[in-house]
């Protein structure tokens, strides 16, 4: 088994991708980093490692792609024991693919992009596409209850996992088999799904795969205001005709996206001017109010055509104007760009970060309005020269939607670390506002360390006790000492 005491290797695994982590990397100091990094190569290696850790009372923190935005792999400052960072990246094989049942058995350390490339060579896809999928790992997805952009067609990670295998300090944890569905008491897979590295190391996952769809098509709609856009989304969900991906950008984000467009020649400008004229003069839209829905459709040519027609009908019903494929594609790509933009901004006096929530349908507009209003006020109180608050509805469900907020401000004369502290304070205020207005603690980012403090107020004491009992059973010595969720 490979291992390393190298400083860089250890530092690299001491952080995730929160704003805080990035700021510390650029101008701060990590107070505690792992003492050793180990790269197991298969399930039995992990078994061996965890058994040793149990024997010598060593803390283990598993890490996959390291793209968490919750402080989930950050080392606890007061951990007295040795900390082993268990890097799963060498467990990256597809062990088998079952064409008949359309499942693949994959080692957990595989990175999303690799998994997708290799599956596509065989004509398959998982369809799981979180924004981070170029860097994040399968095991990480399972451990944090990840959600993908195209969940409407393929499902979230909990829908995709058929079976899994993990190692806990008190032994192996695995599903009873690759059955499509069982009624054998509570679903024990869910003990591991979303456990955030606190109960064991997920080593192998049997995941659903789908044949690659013959057609992928983008589309977009412009709505006169956010309200209309949300009503459109609601109707799509009600009719259950959601395409693979359906997102709604608010006005701020639309304008932001426009600002990011590559500059065009004189001809492009004329075309833009004409488009603008059409929307604002002929259609009577207010450029400072409009919002845009971006759509990705997948399936056979026929399927896509049917879907497109349905969406067009609903779109028109809520005053939507079809705005073409190009805008849809751009909206889709903007998602991947945004994480990079954040890191660049930090060097130019801008603090930016995103946070998400899930909300019942009747609260969507309220949560967006209240959170924006709250943050605007807080920014005004703090006299920031510029601030940017934007929201996007990124997922639709039968009973509600997922909302993604982007928040940025100029930090002026503050130091970067101070600015990040202020940001964190503001995110807490925003989260309280979200929850008071009817939103959840997290839709897919998870709890990690930064949202621990809310758990006692949203889980019953019964639920917390059950979590502790599970922990005591599988890990009495707290070997899996990542310290996420309700655990120390």
């Amino acid at each position: 088994m490979t291992f390393s005491f190298e400083g860089m290797d250890r530092l690299f695994r001491a952080h995730g991708h929160t704003l805080h982590d990035i700021a510390l990397l650029r101008g701060g100091q990590f107070l505690r980093i792992p003492d050793v990094v180990v790269w197991p190569e298969c399930h039995s290696h992990v078994e061996e490692l965890v058994a040793l850790a149990f024997k010598y009372n060593v803390a283990v923190v598993p890490i996959g792609g390291g793209t968490n935005v919750t402080g989930a792999v950050d080392c606890k400052r007061d951990e007295q024991r040795m900390i082993v960072s268990l890097d799963t990246s060498q467990m990256n094989q597809i062990l088998w693919i079952d064409d008949g049942n359309l499942v693949a058995h994959v080692e957990s350390g595989i990175i999303g992009k690799d998994l997708e490339d290799r599956l596509q060579k065989r004509g398959y896809t998982t369809g799981h596409e979180p924004d981070s999928y170029e860097f994040s790992s399968l095991g990480g997805w399972v451990a944090t209850r990840a959600s993908g952009m195209k969940k409407n067609r393929y499902g979230n990670i909990e829908d995709l996992v058929v079976a899994l295998r993990a190692v806990t300090p008190s032994g192996e944890w695995r599903s009873s088999g690759t059955y499509p569905r069982v009624s054998t008491g509570p679903d024990m897979n869910h003990v591991m799904i979303g456990s955030e590295g606190t109960l064991g190391v997920i080593t192998e996952v049997t995941i659903k795969i789908r044949p690659i769809p013959p057609l992928r098509k983008y589309a977009s709609f412009v709505f006169p205001d956010f309200d209309c856009g949300v009503k459109f989304m609601r109707q799509v969900a009600r009719d259950r005709c959601q395409p693979a991906s359906l997102r709604l950008m608010d006005n701020q984000q639309f304008q932001f996206g426009q600002a990011l467009r590559p500059s065009k020649g004189p001809f492009g400008l004329i075309v833009d001017g004409l488009k603008n004229f059409y929307l604002t003069r002929l259609k009577g839209l207010d450029i400072n109010k409009i919002c845009v829905a971006t759509i990705v459709m997948e399936g056979t040519i026929k399927e896509v055509a049917v879907q497109e027609e349905k969406l067009n009908t609903i779109g028109l019903e809520f005053q939507g104007i079809p705005a073409g494929e190009h805008n849809g594609k751009r909206g889709y790509q903007l998602t991947f760009a945004i994480a990079y933009i954040r890191d660049i901004g930090l060097n130019y006096g801008v603090v930016a970060e995103s946070f998400e929530t899930s909300v019942p349908w009747d609260r969507v507009v309220n949560v967006v309005n209240n959170t924006k209003s709250r943050l605007e006020k807080e920014c005004a109180d703090r006299k920031f020269s510029h601030s940017f608050i934007s929201a996007r509805v990124t997922q639709v469900y039968d009973a509600g939607a997922c909302i993604y907020f982007y928040f940025a401000f100029n930090y002026g004369t503050m130091s970067m670390l101070q600015a990040v502290e202020v940001y964190e304070e503001l995110e807490i205020i925003a989260r309280n506002e979200i929850m008071a207005s009817g939103g959840s603690l997290s839709h897919h980012h998870g709890v990690g360390k930064i949202r621990k403090k809310w758990l006692p107020s949203i889980l019953t004491s019964n639920a917390i006790n059950v979590l502790h009992s599970i922990k005591n059973t599988v890990d009495p010595q707290n070997i899996m000492a990542a310290g996420n969720l309700v655990f120390d």
Partner: protein
Amino acid sequence: MDTATLEVTPAESSSRFTVKNYVDIVEKQKHQFDAFFCLKLWRPKPNLHPEATKMIIEKILNSPQMKDTIHQFLLEGHSNLSNCEDVVAQIKTILEDMGHTYKFSTVRVIGFFLAKLLRNLYQGVAINNDGVLKLSKAMSQGPVLLLPTHRSYADFLLISYLCYTMDIPLPVIAAGMDFKGMKFVNRMLQNAGAFYIRRSFGHDQLYWAVVSQYIQYHIVNFQAPIEFFLEGTRSRNGKSLPPKTGLLSMALEPYFRGDVPDVQICTVNISYERTLEEKLYAYETLGVPKPRESTSGFLSAVGKIRGQNYGQIYINISDPISVRDHISKRTEPNWNTPSFRFSLSEYERDSIHCLAWSLIRKQQKETITPVSAIVMSALTVNKQLDIEQLVQLIVLMNSLLAKYGTPCLIQNESVVQSVKDCLDVHKLIIHPVADGFFSCQTALREGEDVQTQAADRLVLQQYTNQLLGPLINVAVFSLIEASDPKEPNNIISESAFFAKYFKNEFVLISNLTQQELTSFQENVTNEMLKRILRALLQPYLESYFIILNLISMGFSTISELTLQYRNMVSTVLVEGASKFPEILAIDKIYRHVLNLVANGHLRGVKTNQTASYHQIDDISPIIVRIEPYLDERLKRFMTLHRKKTAVMQSHL
């Protein structure tokens, strides 16, 4: 806001309110045709859309909340309404009966008459310009509640007039159902944005739900501010009443439910040099029932007051406060309640209660004291004064008010003129006696009954209370200090006693802090001022003393207490045991009983629809505690009276 429309600027106005940005909104009207005024360009933002008004009923009926209420109502099985259509019809009737039917034309017509009336009755209406600007800014940000003080029926007309003049959206006004009785006028008011609600909802769940929905509709779909009176009714005695929280809770519910990011509240503090209803109030507090609102009554009242001089009106719009800054929403999600079945948590109720109290205190503190309040106070205590003495007192009192309340709106060089104006406005009560002296104390004429005399004094008290209200703590301080110069700590503990038992009577009363005490000791040094304030407080102590004695003698229902109180006070006055005929007013009895219940001395028991109150904690210590501050004659009278009753009871 378009500044060009705010033509009334201090420089232009020739009124004497050049202080602190105050402008006179009637001034301009004196040089302009009313027809121009009512046809003026008026485009406030946001604004009620008459078209949208027609949709309100339908929108409310289709809201998830209303649907749920109907469903629940049917499940509970109420007698005569057994199917959905009936309930919907019932709700429609309530809404049609209640709702405003905002029309632009009516607003202009009313504006025409109001402009005439205001010009006719008043010398001027002063208003703080920056308050108006802040208010209109608040309205561009989100829902706003307008909470005026309520001293007169003129209040809500004034506010609508003000909004119309200053290009602010006209408010939607919660008015009492009693206005509904006025034919024609009720329609007019409804067209101008008033909606009618019953004074008490009792257990009528459906009615409650409908009113609540109606108010919340206006908050969530914000087009116009909602105006209602925190005090619930017109204060008949010139000082603020304890707040009612019903409407406030309804209006704030959308904020707690998360339907709106924030609600801003703006108190509007109105004071009058002379109130239209001064005489009526006096008799109402004596127990004469208030005349029913009717159109003919309204018209004859208008006829009666026309041509009289009612002096100045002062409007002080306070800075809007944001509810979000004062009360945070609960952060833990309410997992099993859908948003349409939201109810306020106990914490939220308590916070609203506190907010209501602080708003009332703010109102009392920020109301501009009219000159007449000081003039009357001075004349109540002194037999006669000349103009020079009055001016001197006003200047002194004003500097005190500047520290602990809101002073009169006068400049030093114009004090003499304002005193003259005040004497002119109140010439029915204040009359000249020889040598340029003025007095408001009539010699007791032969054959005049106590009631008439008390009524006269109660009119005076309406004005003197406007001084006592904001300066109550100073008054209590002077009272304690004068009774027996004591240790600072004693003064503080004694002030706590008054704060506890007079909480409902004076909203600003509070336990003195060491800091306040020092401040009073430094700033309140003029013996004359102290004497005036003490004297104003005296009738309240006497009333309380008598009420306490009656309770300890075993009278337990409000009606019994009222009857006995009236008898006893009549005897007291006839025998000359008190110098204050105004103690004949019976409005304090209920307030004191409620206060004693809240302080754990009494417990209310309801039997056959009459509530009786029984002592659970001896109240004689309170009597003992208050005695040192009372006049010897009254104490002697009471001792004798109690002895007599004891003898009588032993004979029975």
